[in-house]
């Protein structure tokens, strides 16, 4: 595949593995905050070849995994309503709320359709005019513009039975919440590639400056990841902290202004609940009143209970890299990959899921 295979080329990547060993001159702890980065690191087996001294921690980067249990409960109760058809990304199908998942709702007759794109959900609405289609909105800045564009299209084409339940989240906000905890010790951030494509590499600069945090915007292929880790190690080793962009083919400093305009037209900032982290101010998006007819919460009059973290769940601390799965009382007892409770286990390669599946010492 063009623009993919070249970056996975072994002749490019293998020398970078050697370079990484030399680059780590001071011990450092890097956090990655993108579910796709977690998967890319896993796919390449990078954790097994990280040089000693470099620690990689998984932060709250998977938007599905940080969808709160009370949001999941709301999703499921919508799906159970007669006359409602729920459309979702596949990622959401097995995520549990406090009592069950959308998969289980489907098994008792709820209409749950897996789609690849929010536009496919709009198509479903057009094809099923007597049903109310609810697209369950999850995702960070990469996904939000597409959802916004879909709502705008629904508005322009006067579709009356399409709605979105927005649990869209924005990225730098949880980082501020994590980093403001003095007990959190991370030296660098592997910045999400496609989120940065939308928001711009420059968005990370205030965080870099305020917390003396090495930042590198990374793509998802082997060479991208290795180079990013090298640059992070060098920044920390030389105490030369800044924002670097290893993914210029997809990311500019200012970001995608055309997408930002569409998002601003449809959405406005809102407080949002994060599984494992609780409510974070201005960390999410809500549909503006002008487009209320497309807002599922308004159309279906949803009232969300205050998010209650399951008792004992230590995901908050694990996401911050401050605790290990073993220290969590729920780990491997009530919380397993088959019945996950917190995002660290919901994510198939989250810290707890990885530990559970592979028995690694993190």
């Amino acid at each position: 595949m063009k623009y993919v295979d070249e970056y996975r080329d072994v002749s490019l990547a293998r020398p970078l593995v050697e370079e990484l060993k030399k680059a780590v001159t001071k011990p450092l702890r890097i956090m990655e905050v993108c579910g796709s980065h977690t998967m890319a690191v896993f796919r390449n087996g990078l954790r097994t070849i990280l040089p000693p001294g470099m620690e990689l921690v998984s932060g709250p980067g998977c938007p599905v995994c940080v969808t709160s249990a009370s949001h999941m409960d709301a999703f499921i109760s919508m799906a159970d309503r007669p006359g409602v058809r729920v459309a979702i990304f596949g990622d959401l199908f097995r995520v549990p709320g406090t009592k069950g998942s959308l998969a289980e709702a489907s098994s008792r007759g709820a209409k749950v359709d897996i789609v690849y794109s929010p536009m496919d959900a709009l198509d479903l609405a057009v094809k099923n005019p007597h049903e109310l289609v609810v697209f369950l909105g999850v995702g960070f800045e990469t996904t939000t513009p597409g959802i916004a564009a879909t709502i705008l299209t629904a508005h322009n084409t006067k579709v009356k039975n399409f709605t979105v339940f927005s649990t869209q989240k924005v990225m730098p906000a949880p980082m501020e919440a994590l980093l403001s905890d003095p007990a959190l010790k991370i030296d660098g951030l592997l910045c999400p590639g496609h989120v940065s494509s939308i928001i711009g590499a420059g968005t990370w600069e205030p965080l870099a400056k305020k917390y003396n945090l090495a930042c590198v915007v990374s793509g998802f292929e082997t060479a991208d990841l290795l180079k990013s880790l090298i640059l992070l190690a060098r920044q920390v080793g030389n105490n030369d902290i800044k924002v670097e962009n290893v993914y210029p083919r997809a990311v500019s400093w200012e970001g995608n202004l055309r997408a930002a305009k569409v998002v601003a037209e449809i959405f406005e900032p809102a407080d949002m609940d994060w599984r494992g982290l609780g409510r974070i101010p201005a960390s999410g998006l809500k549909i503006r009143d002008k487009y209320a007819e497309f807002d599922a919460e308004v159309r279906l009059d949803i009232k969300l209970p205050e998010a209650k973290e399951p008792k004992g769940c230590m995901c908050g601390n694990i996401l911050k890299g401050m605790s290990t799965p073993r220290e969590c009382p729920l780990f491997a007892t009530r919380c397993t990959t088959a019945n996950p409770i917190g995002p660290c286990m919901v994510s198939s390669e989250g810290t707890c899921a990885a530990y559970y599946k592979y028995g690694r010492d993190e």
């Binding site: 293998r14 097995r94 088959a338």
Partner: protein, 337 residues
């Protein structure tokens, strides 16, 4: 089992399916032959050994590029017999039809079944048809059972895989699974994707003729993909299986569709491929034998059995790292994360 209703995952071939078998079916139906849970049961009587297997087909859509539910039903059951080294002899055909199912579509499927049987040289010798009211079925469900004969010296089983054995795959992986998935509304992708459904008994016969005694295990990686099947073999043999990323044969179209939808070829169903585990020193010969057949022209050596944690499957990545490949819990789903 915590669930109170059948979930889709129970039919996926992954851990949830295995749990249903061990927690419910084996609870009431257990006997020594059934308990081994092989692809076919081998039954001994004074006349020699019979292989006997059954499988049901509920695929949706029923017509897809490369085949249809009828063809699948013939090939799948022939392959389950072949995977124990049996020569397939005959099939039964059970149909459950939904009221309202179009007769011309049924005819297409029956023609397809007859063509598949003729090409494979394996006849349908008995059958049954039932109809259920509209809404109580999904157009057509098919069950085929198959009988085959197993020669005296043949002993092929997941348990027989040995340390040092090579793992071969008879061709490209994920073709069937990705084709079915991309036919679904909402996840549609156009392009040259088609099911690989085909009978493998001739390929198996060639292997057994050329490498008598060296073919230890044969498995067809259907639901759950190569990953799930190899996890079963690793568990049954008490060994670790090491694969190499670079050696996995995947068509570019399949790879691209998987990248787009967030799917992993190792977990996608194959309906015309087999895994062969052979003595390590016969790997190249086995490869040559497979590649000389039309079913195995894209065969590759993909890994080997090594001592290590029992039941583990690991992949060596091109940059020198490793990752563990766990069995699927349920159906593979497209993702955005």
């Amino acid at each position: 089992m915590a669930e109170k209703t059948i979930l889709l995952d129970h039919g996926s071939g992954g851990l949830a399916s295995q749990q249903l078998i061990s927690d419910l079916f084996l609870k009431y139906l257990d006997n020594k032959t059934l308990h081994s849970l092989e692809d076919s049961a081998i039954l001994q009587n004074r006349r020699g050994r019979l292989a006997f297997t059954t499988d049901s087909y509920v695929v949706d859509p029923i017509f897809f590029p490369g085949g249809d539910i009828g063809k699948l039903a013939v090939h799948g059951t022939i392959n389950d017999l072949a995977m124990r080294g049996a020569t397939p002899y005959c099939l039964s055909l059970g149909l459950i039809l939904e009221e309202g199912f179009a007769l011309d579509e049924l005819e297409r499927i029956i023609i397809s079944i007859s063509e598949a049987c003729r090409e494979a040289g394996v006849p349908v010798v008995t059958g049954d048809t039932k109809v259920v009211p509209r809404g109580k079925g999904d157009k057509i469900f098919i069950n085929t059972s198959g009988i085959g004969f197993v020669a005296k010296d043949i002993d092929i089983s997941s348990k027989n895989a040995k340390e040092g054995d090579a793992v071969l795959l008879s061709g490209t992986m994920g073709d069937h699974g990705i084709t079915i998935m991309t036919r679904r509304a909402g996840i549609a992708v156009q392009g040259d994707l088609q099911s690989d459904t085909m009978p493998l008994h001739n390929l198996v016969a060639a292997l057994l003729a050329e490498l008598p005694g060296d073919v230890h295990t044969l498995r067809d990686p259907t639901r759950g993909g190569v990953a799930t099947t190899l996890n079963e073999v690793a568990a049954a043999s008490g060994l670790t299986i090491e694969l190499s990323d670079e050696s996995l044969p995947i068509r570019p179209q399949v790879r691209a569709a998987c990248e787009l939808l967030g799917l992993e070829p190792l977990y996608l169903a194959n309906e015309g491929k087999c895994l062969a585990i052979v003595s390590g020193n016969q790997a190249e010969k086995a490869l040559a034998v497979m590649r000389a057949t039309k079913e195995g022209k894209d065969a590759a050596i993909i890994g080997r059995l090594v001592a290590g944690r029992a039941g583990r499957v690991i992949v060596n990545t091109p940059v020198g790292g490793t990752r563990v490949v766990t069995p699927l819990h349920g159906m593979p789903l497209p993702r955005i994360c």
